[in-house]
Symmetry: C2
Subunit: 117 residues, 2 copies
């Protein structure tokens, strides 16, 4: 399986349950039981997903508190987003070309406001 950090990050993100767990953790740390709550899934199944996220470094689990809360770790996601930056330029250029075309065709910049959001 994936041995480099970027591959581990993307592989960990390639699952809707794991992405939902990460989304929950943006609003603060949570115990395994709290994280399992919204899913129609056994605790061991959720724990398995947490292990994938942990191995990829996307979350960490405290060893101090008795309820061992999980929390987000920022750096792997940051690295993944940085890897995507050149592609952002690619799709924005495409958008610019479409905008230029529509401006010529309609006489106004149809897409500018959407692109700037």
């Amino acid at each position: 399986m994936a041995s480099d950090q970027l591959s581990s990050t993307f592989a960990a993100l390639a699952d809707p349950t794991r992405r939902a767990i990460l989304a929950r953790l943006t609003s603060g740390e949570a115990s395994v039981t709290e994280l399992a709550e919204p899913f129609d899934m056994s605790l061991p199944a959720v724990t398995k997903h947490l292990k994938v996220l942990q191995r990829a470094g996307l979350i960490s689990q405290s060893r101090e508190a008795q309820w061992r809360p999980c929390r987000l770790r920022a750096s792997p996601m940051r690295e993944a987003a940085e890897w995507m930056e050149p592609y952002r330029q690619h799709w924005e250029q495409r958008f610019d070309r479409l905008d230029d075309y529509l401006r010529v065709a309609t006489g106004k910049p149809v897409l500018r406001t959407r692109r700037k959001k």
Copy 2:
């Protein structure tokens, strides 16, 4: 395997060869032979990677030209980058807190310039 678009995108990105193929395509369309060139890999192995990228919608292959060039498709990568946006806020907040701490400790904003790039 992954049935939703985001999961397919991330699963396709979870491999260094596939990411290198995408990186090559940012500088323009290329034939399968051209894409295979930099890799110590058989043509069928490269074709297999291209199929994963194609199924995820990250590339498309022209049926018109005889050399059937591959090109990047922007929208799945864009969707993935948009999914990451809330996490960007998360790590920037963490960076701000670290910056605030260092400013108090050293008397100057050590990290600001790096964060703004």
